[in-house]
Amino acid sequence: MEAVGPNPFLFVSAVLFVCGVVCMTTKRNGIGVLMGVELVLNGASLNFVTFSKFTPLGLDGQVFSLFVIVLAAAEAAVALAIALNFYNNHLTIDVDRGDELHG
């Protein structure tokens, strides 16, 4: 009866991170890009909690993942407000259309 070590958890968080990055780069929907950011942050906080369990990081890791969660919520709120403004200006949420400053 072997217990699960840190590596499987770290692998899962790596998958979360990579999926988030891929999501951020490929999605043209602004909200989709936001979801990618959430995935990346989640991978990071899973890493923190894993290390808080398997290393003497202790509570610090959990505190950091709490901060990550709370700040991600704040980030989502502001980003959504920006997305709504974008939608009101361009009548679409396609981020490729926001190229007015491109010259």
Binding site: M1, A3, V4, P6, N7, F9, F11, V12, A14, V15, L16, V18, C19, G20, V22, C23, T25, T26, R28, N29, I31, G32, L34, M35, G36, E38, L39, N42, S45, L46, V49, T50, S52, K53, F54, T55, P56, G58, L59, Q62, V63, S65, L66, F67, I69, V70, L71, A73, A76, A77, V78, L80, A81, A83, L84, N85, Y87, N88, L91, I93
Partner: protein, 215 residues
């Protein structure tokens, strides 16, 4: 195979599946649902790691709050029902390839490190005390009280004097335990930050609507 291991693999598959389907899916609402699946399973992973408070916070703030916000954003910005904004195929293939390579690099790096050895090296000078026991069995993730204390700037689980003063049979601890300082200042900064975000987000969303009605 113990129950914990089975649960871990079940929820690891759910987490990864949700994450992949967020990255692959083209429909925003389905993406939101996959995100719920992924974040919820991550919360269970937190619980499996003994971080009960973080897991509950993840469920409450992320799944119950942020994702609801995202879904509202989807609804408010959709031009028609079930709109899809397709990303180009070449982009998807390229980024998928880079993603796989990146995942390979990360996973080989992770498996190359001996975490147990590093823990022992880092462990010198730190000392874990068990938290006060509640009704539940020990190590069922009794993290609520220590976390609350650490936000009040008291770290009951860590003794800073221990590094200078290693207890042994011949030489018992002389100094009183010196509790390490906690996270009061970051906590306050985050609360102020949240207030600013609250005001700012509602201002951003509100001002726009006024302009829209003027037009």
């Amino acid at each position: 195979m113990s129950v914990e291991t089975m649960l871990f693999w079940l929820f690891a598959i759910l987490t990864c599946g949700g994450a992949v389907s967020v990255a692959v899916s083209q429909n925003v609402v389905r993406m939101a649902f996959s995100l719920v699946l992924c974040l919820g399973s991550t919360a269970v992973m937190f619980l499996l790691l003994g971080a009960d408070f973080v897991g509950a916070t993840q469920l409450m703030v992320y799944v119950g709050g942020t994702v609801v916000l995202l879904v509202f954003g989807v609804m408010l910005t959709a031009t028609g029902p079930f709109t899809k904004i397709k990303s180009s195929g070449a982009d998807a293939i390229l980024s998928g390839l880079i993603g796989v390579i990146f995942l390979f690099i990360i996973s080989t790096t992770v498996t190359a490190v001996d975490w147990g050895d590093i823990s022992q090296k880092v462990a010198i000078g730190t000392h874990q005390k068990t938290a006060a026991r509640g009704f539940n069995p020990e190590q069922q993730g009794n993290t609520t009280r220590p976390l609350g204390l650490s936000f009040l700037s008291v770290r009951a689980d860590r003794d800073l004097n221990l590094s200078r003063n290693v207890p042994s049979v011949e030489k018992p601890v002389e100094d009183a335990p010196k509790l390490s300082s906690g996270y009061l200042l970051p906590f306050e900064i985050v609360s102020i930050h949240l207030l600013v975000v609250l005001v700012g987000a509602s201002y951003l969303a509100r001002a726009k609507r006024r302009v829209a009605t003027n037009q």
